[in-house]
Structures are given as C-alpha cells and as structure tokens.
C-alpha cells in the first residue's frame, strides 16, 4: 500500500500493515468520532505499537521497585537520574536496537548507540560511558560471524567518532539467537542536580523548535518494524534502516549542552523511534498541552515529502525543544555556530490536540489523550512453565586428571574467553577518566575533576532465565550488583532492557512475568531500584522465540577512587580467600554445557540474605583497605574466576582444595561468592572481621610463580591460559 494509491478510505490490508489490530482500529474511530486519514493512521500505528506504547508490558513494569534515597528520576523520562553527592547526578538508560541490527548490523548498532546517547544528553547530562550487551546465535551459524563483526564495528564507529568511551558490556552466543540477535546499548552521563532537563512542554504560545539534521525518508515504519515478528522475507524490510551520522551527533551534543547553560530551554525531547510523532506527542502529553505544527517548516533532505513521511521518518540526530521566546536568537546562533538546522516549526497551544498543517491545509488533528492515556494496554494471558528439575551428577563419572584440560576448554570457549578483540575496537579511554578499563568486573569511570567514580556493569544469564525465569530474573540483577561490589563501589540503581519473544504466547508472557518477579525481589531486598529501561518483544523468527533476556545495567558509586578494586592479582605471597559457601552446584552450569554438552538441571538459587551479607562484607574489607584484588565468582565457577585473576595480573597461584569431588568444587556455580586477595599482614584482620559478621570464608592458597597449581597435582602455566583465552575471537572474526 503506497500513499499514491491511497483512496481516503480505510482498507483492511492498510490497517494490518500498519500493525494495528482491528479492535485497536475501532478504538481509533471511536476516539476521533471519524475514520483517521492516512497521516493520522500512521501516527496511531507508531504510537500504539509495542515499542512506543508498552501495551503488553506496562502492567507488569509497574511492579518493579523504582524509588530510593538516591533516586531523583525514575522510569518515565528519557533516562533515569540518581544522586551521586556534591550536587552531581548520574543519568543512564539502556535501549535495544535488535531488529535493525539484524537487518544491517553496522548501521543498526551504530544508530542504536546514537539513540541512547541522545536519551542521556537530552536530560542535560554529558555522556561519559557507553556499554553494550550483545547476544548472537551459535558461532557455527552462517550469519553469526558477519553479524558480530558488523555490530562491533558499528558500535565502535559511532562511539569512537563522537568521543565517548565504550567501557564495558557483555557478549554471548546461543542458538536461540540465530534468527534474532540482541544489541542493547547503555549510556551513562553526568549532570548537575539543578540542571536536569525534562520533556514536558509548557507556556501557551511558546515556540516549538526543531534542531539537528534534516529529515529524509529514513526508517519510515522503523518503529512498527521493531515490533514485528520476523519471517524469511524480512529481507524486504531492509530499506527502512537508517544511516547514523556520529559527527552531526557530536555537534548536536555540544550545541545542546551549550544552550543548556543558558535558561532558554523549557522542554526538550530527542526524536527516536517514530521521530517527530513520538517526540511531539510525548512533549504535549507530559505538559498536558496541545501542539500546532507547520510541517512545511521542517528541514527536509528529500524532495516533496508528505505529512505522513515527515511524521514517521526516523532520520537520526534530531531534537525537538520548546524554548523561551526571548532567547530565540541566542539559541539560533548557538546552533548556527555548530552548523546545525534550527527551525521554529510550531507553537504550544491550549487545545490539547496535536494539529499538523502543510501549506495551510490541516493534515491531522488528534486529541493527545486518545493517543496516550487511551492507548491500548493488555493484561495478556500467561502460563508459567515448570522450572527445570535437578539432575543427579555422579562423582565417579569424573576423573580429577581432566581438571586442567577442562579448564582450558572452558576459558577458550566463546562464552567464557577474553573479549579483548571486541573492546580493542572501542575507544575505551577517550575523555581521560577511565579508571578501570574493560576486562575487569565493573568498569570504573571518574567523575571529571573529582576523586570519585561510578562503577558500571551489564549482565544477564539467559540460560538461567529460560529454565527458571524467577531465579534468572533475580540473578541478572544480583550479578551486576556483585560486579559493582567487586570493583569497590556501592551499588545504587539499575536500568533494564527486557528482550523477549512474542507476548501473545502465554508461555513467553509467563517468562516475562516471572523475570519481573525475580528482578523485583532482588531489587527490593538489595535496595537497588530500577530507574529506567526498555522493552523489546516479538524477538521471534518463524515462531521460535529467543531465550528470555532481561539485560541489566547496574551503576554504583566509589567515593574515594583510591579504594577501587580490579580483578588482577597483585603480589607474590598474598593469600587468596573464597567468600561464600561452595556446595558444588554443577546443574545448569557452564561446565555441563561446554564439557558435557548438556543444558540440564536446576538453576542455582540465590539466597538474598546471604548475598547481601557477603557483598557488604567484601565492601567493608575494601573500605578498610584489606583487599588487594577482588573478583566475583560467576559463570564457570571458582576456577574460571581464579584463572581470570591470574591472567589479569599475570601471576600464578597455588591453591589447596583437597576435595573429594574436585570438579564440583571448582566448576560449580553456587551463588553469592567472591575471591579476594589479601596481604599476609591483613589476613588475620579479614578472618576476624568474617567471624564477627558470621561470613563463610575459606583460605584457598597463595599468590606466586608463573603457574596455576591445584593441590600440587594439576598445573598449567598462566602463559598457556592467556594464549588459549585470547584465541577464539582472533581466529573467528579477526
């Protein structure tokens, strides 16, 4: 259906290929008291699709804890805001760009980064860190290599050019992503508490200003596409992918921050998915006002664009503002200096309608409340799948001699090997405040000009979420919390990116509901609220959904950077201790999946009480300068964590385990555990402190030499570990 053949009467097919269900269309007609014209239909389809309206998820998202002592702005604005003392705030959010990245990995990932950056600097914050949570199909799948290289190049291409360090993230490979990769981008910015900008339009008669790049026919229907299930001919959806222009975004960033120093901006909103449509409606709805827009004023890149195209274009690097009329020329000059478009395209009205005109002719008139408050909201049916049951693991089937070969196999595996090949393609040091670089637990970025820093980590275990969505949801939150603790920071809040399959299937909806319940439990218990997020549903190809993937981005605060911890071993003779109890939980572990090729058994459960106690104990030790290095024990278990510390510090260890079931102890994935390195002189202090707090602590061994030695029986050189650990990506994609 094209605009030319449009006959001003609604045809079924047209409604359908706008992704609107028939009852939804009836709702539109009822609300307007008439049938919408094409432009209006396009606007409704963009606003009412899953991506913009959250119609399937809203009800459940409301259950997440979103408040806390340090929370200044929770979900609902462009990004969340937390207090990090001294009048400084951190502003952050994570967002998905999954479908576009599958269709065109470089541009899809690049524009994903551009979009999340705008969400953060729209709030008045200077972005200081980017992270990316990536999920790809099996490494043997024909598409995977191309998608991986394209996505990594695109993320670097955009972030490097605009000059914001990409300091962390996560990558994993699993067949469930063969037809739907996940590209989740997170940005953290820093602002002043009294200089935060919001999107609520105000002041009847105030000018509505368009700034940034010109509007072309880019990504028309992108927002609708982002909520469409794939099928084999989704190749046809290709032309809707837009091209990113990081240089223009850099200019836009500097121009906006420059204008924000003046008292000129009343409201500001970036043009993301559904461009001018969602940004204008967002502003009007938040401000409970109307907007009158003359589309002929919109700077255009292509000839004779229609109202429909102008409203639905997803051209990048654009912003919408309401400014103080007396500051117009000042604002105009700033954007001119930066060679950017600056056009007054309309004004704020009291009609509470969105009115669009072109050459004097009215192209659309929609009451804002119909678009927003009356937007469909569903409580979809859900069924909760049985969680996978415990399997017996027979000790006799294990030969202690295989420990080292198994270890090598695991640290060489795509899901556990070093990600250096990736982060070396990202400028992770620009802005000269990166204190802890990629390759440790959380990345640490200094707040410019101070001695404090923020620690950031993204995590999620989709395998846990698939086989026990509740524990999986709990775990995703806790894993970032642990990473942040391990870097010596106090965890403060998280952002989430909820990637799931088709919510119209009760099983998928059940996964969503359970993940939210698990997340809620962890967030509440750890006083670690969700302050922003994003939902990406319909990640399915030919009816096969991805594993539930609630990617979490956590942020913490280090008040004194001299207390920053990294995972690298520091000195010969230091003592290694394990915090937390090890029962040897091999069910559903990386060991089983990598070595035994089994994805079976029960998911390890997290005891939040112990989790919190252990974490706080580690932080106390760090506070007292009692630790030399810290690493949380995550996927792959104790021995993987131990080798990562050896490799990062290029130092060996001798550890004494003397356990009957060595494999279970070394590769089990019991939760709530950390490895700490302490000097001999601090060892007693640490032990007493542990006793006083009834913390389970075990002495594991000593730092020293060039080998990893277990019970003097099993030995491997750190050099060999390093070699094997860094092999995969170079060979696969390098």
């Amino acid at each position: 259906m094209t605009i030319e053949t449009w006959k001003h009467k609604i045809e079924q097919s047209l409604v359908e290929n706008h992704g609107l269900k028939h009852d939804e269309f009836d709702k539109i007609v009822e609300g307007l008291g008439r049938e919408p014209n094409l432009t209006e239909l396009g606007i409704f389809s963009a606003m009412w699709n899953e991506h913009c309206s959250y119609k399937s998820s809203k009800y459940w998202l409301k259950k997440l804890p979103t408040t806390g002592k340090r929370v200044i702005q929770g979900p609902g604005e462009n990004a969340g805001v937390i207090d990090i003392d001294d009048g400084d705030v951190a502003v952050f959010k994570m967002e998905s760009h999954n479908h576009p990245s599958f269709i065109e990995p470089y541009q899809g990932a690049a524009t994903g980064v551009g979009g999340i950056l705008r969400d953060v600097f729209t709030m008045g914050a200077r972005p200081v860190a980017n992270l990316n949570a990536l999920r790809f199909g099996d490494t043997s799948h024909p598409k995977t290599r191309h998608l991986l290289s394209g996505v990594v190049e695109g993320i670097g291409g955009y972030g490097n050019c605009i000059g914001i360090p990409t300091v962390g993230g996560e990558v994993n490979f699993h067949p469930s992503y063969n037809g739907n990769i996940l590209v989740n981008a997170m940005t953290v910015g820093i602002a002043k508490k009294d200089k935060i900008f919001y999107s609520a339009a105000a002041g009847i008669g105030n000018p509505v200003v368009y700034v940034g790049s010109k509007t072309g026919r880019d990504g028309i229907h992108g927002a609708t596409m982002a909520s469409a299930e794939f099928d084999d001919d989704s190749e046809d959806k290709k032309p809707t992918v837009q091209v990113g222009d990081p240089f223009t975004e850099k200019l836009l960033l500097e121009a906006c921050l420059e204008l924000m120093k003046e008292d000129a901006i009343i409201a500001i909103q970036d043009m993301g998915a559904a461009g001018l449509t969602s940004s204008s409606i967002e502003m009007a709805s938040k401000g409970n006002v109307g907007l009158d827009i003359d589309l002929t004023k919109v700077p255009m890149r292509a000839q004779n664009m229609t109202a429909y195209e102008l409203m639905l274009s997803e051209s990048q690097e654009r912003m919408l503002m309401v400014i103080d009329p007396t500051k117009e020329s000042l604002a105009r000059n700033i954007f001119r200096k930066w060679d950017l478009e600056f056009e007054i395209i309309g004004e704020v009205t009291d009609t509470k309608n969105l009115v669009l005109r072109m050459h004097g002719k009215e192209e659309a008139c929609i009451p804002i409340n119909i678009l927003v408050e009356d937007a469909p909201e569903y409580q979809r049916d859900y069924t909760i799948r049985e969680t996978s049951k415990k399997i017996e693991i027979i000790q006799d089937e294990f030969d202690q001699k295989t420990i080292i070969p198994d270890l090598i196999k695991m640290i060489s595996h795509p899901n556990l090997c070093s990600r250096q090949w990736i982060w070396e393609q990202y400028d992770h040091m620009v802005m000269a405040d990166t204190i802890v670089r990629p390759g440790s637990d959380a990345a640490v970025v200094r707040v410019h000009g101070t001695n404090k820093g923020i620690a950031i980590s993204t995590d999620c275990s989709p395998v846990y979420c698939k086989h026990n969505s509740f524990e999986g949801g709990k775990h995703a939150i806790v894993e970032t919390w642990r990473n942040i603790i391990a870097s010596g920071a106090l965890p403060i809040a998280v952002t989430d990116c909820m990637n799931f399959g088709n919510p119209e299937k009760p099983e998928i909806m059940g996964e969503f509901v359970e993940c939210i319940r698990g997340m809620t439990e962890s967030c509440s218990y750890l006083d670690y609220p969700v302050i922003s997020g994003n939902v990406s549903l319909y990640n399915e190809t030919n009816g096969v959904g991805i594993y539930p993937t609630p990617a979490i981005g956590g942020v913490g605060l280090i008040k004194d950077l001299s207390k920053t911890m990294t995972i690298g071993l520091k000195n010969e003779g230091n003592i290694i201790c394990v915090i937390g109890e090890t029962s040897g939980h091999l069910n559903m572990s990386q060991y089983l999946s990598i070595i035994k090729n089994k994805e079976e058994g029960c998911v390890p459960e997290i005891n939040l009480e112990i989790e919190k106690k252990n974490g706080m104990f580690v932080l106390d030790c760090v506070e007292e300068h009692l630790t030399e290095s810290v690493h949380d024990i995550g996927e792959g278990g104790l021995l993987i964590a131990m080798s990562e510390m050896c490799m990062a510090g290029n130092l060996g260890v001798q550890i004494e385990v003397k356990k009957e079931f060595l494999h279970a102890y070394l590769f089990g994935e019991d939760q709530g555990r950390y490895l700490i390195e302490v000097s001999e002189k601090n060892y007693e202090k640490v032990i007493t402190l542990a006793k006083d707090n009834s913390i389970h602590i075990e002495k594991l061994g000593f730092v020293g030499g060039t080998d990893l030695k277990i019970d003097h029986l099993n030995t491997v050189s750190i050099a060999e570990l390093l070699e094997k650990n860094s092999e995969f990506f170079k060979k696969y994609a390098g």
């Binding site: 670097g156 000059g163 000269a432």
Partner: protein, 224 residues
C-alpha cells in the same frame, strides 16, 4: 608558557590534552575555535585528537582547510612548537607541515590499546626526556606511509621522533600495531619544532589512568 589548543568540529581529545597540560604546568591552556585567525602569544600550539569533521573524506583533510590552519603554518615557520596528536597528526600531515601520509591500519580495524614507543631523536624539544614510554593508541588510520625518497630524507635528517617497540625497546613487526613503515609512530618537521604522533600522551599523563610516561613529552616542550 602559554599553550593554545585548537578545537575543530569533531575534536574530542581537546579537553583531555588541556587538562593534562594544566595539571602538569599549572597553566590553563587557551582553547581556540578553528574559525579564529590568530595564535599570537602561543608558546605551544596543540592540534588535538578526535574525529575532526567525522574523519569524513580523509582523516584531517577537511580540518586542514580551516581558517586557523594558515596561522598554525605561519607560527610553525616562525619556530613556535606545534604538537599534533592522533587526528592532530593527520591534520598536520594534510597541511604538509609534516611529510608522508597516514593510511588505514593494516588490520583494517580501529585499535585502542597501550603500546610502547621509543624516541629515535633524543635531542628534540619534544623527545629529549623520553626513552621508552608506554601510552595508548586509538585510531583507524595510523599506518604511516612515506615514499622511498621521503623516508630517506626524514631518516637522514633525524626526523623520526618515535618508533613502536616492545617493553624492552625492541623494534620489530610484533610491536608494530598498525603496519606503519619502519614502525614509525611519530615524526618531526625538518626544523624539529613540529611533532606529529599517533599515540596519546595526554591519556598517559597521570598514574590514576594507569601510566604517566606521556607527561615527559609535555614537560620537555614546556620545559617544566
């Protein structure tokens, strides 16, 4: 000593180098917008890293046509010290203040990591305090190229400032991160008052960032 840092659209290491110089010398450098036309009173001119004009067309090409560049060339010819870092190096090459060319890394990908460099010319105002130094690189087009005769000229005239090496100071192919001819990481003009280098000394100018080898380059040229 008054330093001036030139800012182009797309520069993104301008603040980093200004902060480094401020911390080392105690004197706040002056930021100069590329549309300005004078650099009077500058004791050091810095052309910072970044992606001027998005690195579109050719890295540094468009910036090298900015109004301020004529003034940079004038001051350079008067003998004022000029340092171009990363994109700044690319810009100085495009202005022909420095010889050769910087082409795509042999790996064809952006590389951000610590490297070691050693000073080849131990007498220049920039290099005299540096022997072997560790500092980060972060670039796509740092692969130094020069024609046979140009190469001969800069060697004979002692214009090679730095070469990539390993932590032992050995210059070999393994320690060459981007395919640069003769492992060249930085070069001087024939009067030795203009330096261009790909590594980022400003990102290695304080211990908190992991290493402060980079400070010697600023200290020697600012005679701190």
């Amino acid at each position: 000593m008054k330093s001036k840092v030139i800012v182009f659209p797309g520069s993104n290491c301008d603040r980093d180098v200004a902060v480094a110089i401020k911390n080392l010398s105690g004197v706040e450098p002056q930021m100069v917008w590329h549309k300005e036309t004078t650099l009077d009173g500058a004791d050091l001119i810095v052309v910072p890293g970044g992606f001027s004009y998005g690195d579109y067309l050719r890295c540094g090409a468009i910036a090298s046509t900015s109004p301020i560049i004529n003034e940079v060339i004038k001051k350079a010819n008067e003998g004022v010290p000029v340092i171009g870092i990363c994109n700044g190096f690319q810009i100085l090459i495009e202005t022909s203040l420095l010889d050769g060319a910087l082409i795509r890394n042999s790996s064809l990908s952006f590389i951000c990591k610590d490297v070691y460099i050693k000073s080849e010319n131990q007498s220049s105002i920039f290099t005299k305090k540096t022997k072997i130094a560790k500092m980060p690189i972060a670039h796509n087009e740092g692969n130094y190229f020069a024609s046979a005769e140009t190469l001969k000229k800069i060697i004979d005239n002692d214009q090679i400032a730095f070469k990539y090496c390993n932590d032992q100071g050995e210059v070999n192919s393994v320690s060459n991160p981007n395919g640069s001819i003769n492992n060249i990481a930085g070069i001087l003009n024939d009067k030795k008052n203009v330096l261009g280098l790909m590594p980022h000394p400003e990102r290695a100018a304080e211990k908190a960032l992991g290493c402060d080898d980079g400070k010697h380059i600023f200290e020697s040229v600012l005679s701190i």
